[in-house]
Assembly symmetry: C2
Homo-oligomer: 321 residues x 2
C-alpha cells in the first residue's frame, strides 16, 4: 500500500497522521501537547518520534506539513513562529526530505487547513472559500477559482491584523484593535486578567471566572473565558462577544473585498457556543453590503483540518511526480 504522512506543528500542539493514498480515514494518528518551554528543537524532536512511531519502519510516498506561522511555501522554509522560539528561517522541507528521503510540502496552517476543508470538509464543491482559524492567533487561508491563493509573497490571508477598532487596545504588532487582539484566546484571557487584577475597582461580573480558576488569575485562558460566558459571567460575556464583533467586522470587510462564497471557521475559539456565532454572523452581515452574499460555517474537519490539508498537499505531490 502507498502511504501518506501528514504533520501538523500547531502553536501548542503537535499532531501526525498516516493514511493510505486516496483513503479518507486515518490508518494511525497521534497528538501531543508541546512542552511548556518548547523550542524549535524540542518540537522537531517530538515530531520525529511521532512520525517514526506511526511509520513503523515503512517509507511514505510523500509528506505534507502544516506549520503554525509564516512559511515560504515555495522554498519549504519556516520564516518564524510567534509562539515557539528558534524557528527563524528553518529549512523544514530540506531537513525532512533528508531524514525521510521523500518529497515534502510545507505551508502555513491556515492555507493548509483551507485546502483540507476544500478537498475533504465543508468547502467541498465551492470555488471560493476563506478559511479562518481562531485560537492562539487568528489567521486565514484562501481558495480562489478552486485553487490555493497564497499572495505575491505568500503572505495572503492575514485577517488577524486587520484593524477593526483604531481606538481599541494595543496589539503586539504595534497597531490597535486588530481582529486578533480582540478575538484570540490569549488576548481575551489577558484582558480578563487585567480587569480582575485591578484592585478596589467597581466592575460588572468576573465572579464565575474567579471561581473557575480558584482565584489564580494565571490560569485564565480563552477557554475559561468562553466557559464563564456560557455560565453567565458578565465580564466574560463582554470580552468574548467583543471578540466575536471584531471578527465579524473583519469577515464583513473581507466579503466586500473578495466576495468568496463561503467562510469556514476553525480553532478553539470557534467552539464558544451559539451566541458567539450569532454576534459574529450579525456583525458580518451588517458590515457587508446588502448585495454581497456569503455563508459562515464551522470547519467540518474540526481540529484536523490542517492535517487533512497536509494529506491533500502530499497527494498532489504524488500525482505531480
Amino acid at each position: 500500500m502507498t502511504i501518506i504522512l501528514a504533520l501538523d506543528f500547531g502553536g501548542t500542539k503537535l499532531a501526525a497522521g498516516l493514511v493510505n493514498l486516496g483513503s479518507r480515514e486515518w490508518l494511525r494518528y497521534e497528538r501531543r501537547f508541546s512542552p511548556h518551554n518548547a523550542s524549535a528543537s524540542t518540537d522537531l524532536e517530538i515530531m520525529r518520534s511521532l512520525a517514526h512511531s506511526l511509520l513503523q519502519g515503512k517509507k511514505p510516498a510523500a509528506i505534507g506539513v502544516s506549520f503554525g506561522g509564516p512559511v515560504d511555501a515555495t522554498m519549504g522554509k519556516v520564516r518564524l513562529s510567534h509562539h515557539v522560539s528558534g524557528w527563524e528561517n528553518i529549512p523544514l522541507r530540506e531537513w525532512l526530505e533528508e531524514e525521510f528521503g521523500v518529497a515534502v510540502s510545507v505551508d502555513n496552517d491556515a492555507n493548509v487547513a483551507a485546502l483540507g476543508e476544500h478537498r475533504f470538509g465543508t468547502g467541498q464543491g465551492y470555488e471560493s472559500i476563506f478559511y479562518i482559524t481562531v485560537s492562539t492567533g487568528v489567521g486565514g487561508g484562501w481558495i480562489l477559482n478552486g485553487k490555493p491563493w497564497r499572495g505575491a509573497g505568500g503572505m495572503a490571508g492575514e485577517i488577524g491584523h486587520m484593524v477593526v477598532d483604531p481606538t481599541g487596545p494595543p496589539c503586539l504588532c504595534g497597531k490597535r484593535g486588530c481582529v486578533e487582539r480582540l478575538a484570540s484566546g490569549p488576548y481575551m484571557a489577558l484582558d480578563v486578567r487585567e480587569v480582575l487584577g485591578r484592585e478596589g475597582e467597581r466592575r460588572r461580573g468576573g465572579e464565575i471566572i474567579q471561581r473557575l480558576v480558584e482565584n489564580n488569575l494565571e490560569l485564565v485562558t480563552g477557554k475559561v473565558v468562553s466557559e464563564a460566558a456560557l455560565l453567565g459571567d458578565v465580564l466574560a460575556e463582554d470580552i468574548l462577544y467583543r471578540g466575536a464583533w471584531g471578527l465579524g467586522m473583519g469577515i464583513g470587510n473581507v466579503a466586500n473585498l473578495v466576495n468568496p462564497q463561503l467562510f469556514v471557521l476553525g480553532g478553539s475559539v470557534a467552539k464558544s457556543g451559539e451566541r458567539w456565532w450569532e454576534v459574529l454572523r450579525k456583525t458580518a452581515r451588517d458590515t457587508a453590503l446588502p448585495e454581497v452574499d456569503f455563508e459562515i460555517v464551522a470547519a467540518g474537519l474540526g481540529d484536523d483540518a490542517p492535517l487533512w490539508g497536509a494529506v491533500a498537499m502530499a497527494e498532489q505531490s504524488c500525482f505531480r511526480a
Copy 2:
C-alpha cells in the same frame, strides 16, 4: 480594418473611444459631461450619439463597456447606479447588441480599469494587482493570477465600504467611517460645507475655501478641497489627509488579506498632490505587517483606464469568437 468601440459610463462623465484592433492609440475619442439632472435614458441617448458619431456608419468587431456602478458581468446587466437614477436592472448588453449587431461585454468600471491597467498601463507584467478608483465613489477591481477576479457574485473589490473608523461620520450605506465616507470627493465636500455652515463657531482654517468658491458653499467639491489644501487651508488639509489616512488603512488591510504585488490608484482624488500620497503610503505601510511587500502607484492610463479596459474586454471577445 477591424475596429473596436469602447464606452465608459462614469458617474458624471460619458466617454467613447474607437481603435483599430491591436492598436494602442485612439482612432477617434469623445468625452461629455452628464447633464445636471441625468437619468439612465439621457445618459444612454448621449452615449448612442457619441458612438454613432465615432463610428461614422462603420460596424465595430466588438464593443466593450465600462459602467460606474454594480454590474452583473455574466448577464451584461446593470444592477443600479449610485449617482444616476433609472439604471436599476437595465440589460445594457442586450440593448447594445440589438442596436449595433455585435458582441458586447459590460463590467463595473473598477474591474474594467483594473484590466486596462494590467493590459496596457502600470500593471503590465504583474500577476496580481488591485486597482482603486477614488473620485465620486471609491471602488476596486482585482487581477489575480493574471486574470480578473470578480468574486462569487461579481461583487469583489468593494474597498469603499470597508469600515476603518467605527466612530467616524455616518455613511449612506448605514455604517460609520467607511473608506468612501472619508476619502471620496463628494463626502469631503460635504464635511467642509458642514463645518463652514455652522455659525459663530471657532474653527481652524476654511478662509481659502471660502475665497475659492466666493462664499457660495454649494460650489465646494472634492477638487476645491484638494486645491485649498495645496494652498495651505488648514480645514481643507484636515479633511483631505483624513481621507488619505482612511484609504491608507484600507490598502494596508487589503495588503495583509490578499497580498497583491501592486496597488494602482486612479480617479480625481488621486490627483491631490504629493502630501496626499505621502499620508496614504505611510498609513498603508504602518497598517500592513512588516513582511507584506507592495507598491502603490498612480494609474498609468489616467482617466482613460476604464476605456482601455473596455478595449481589452472587447478584444478578448473577438479572440474567443
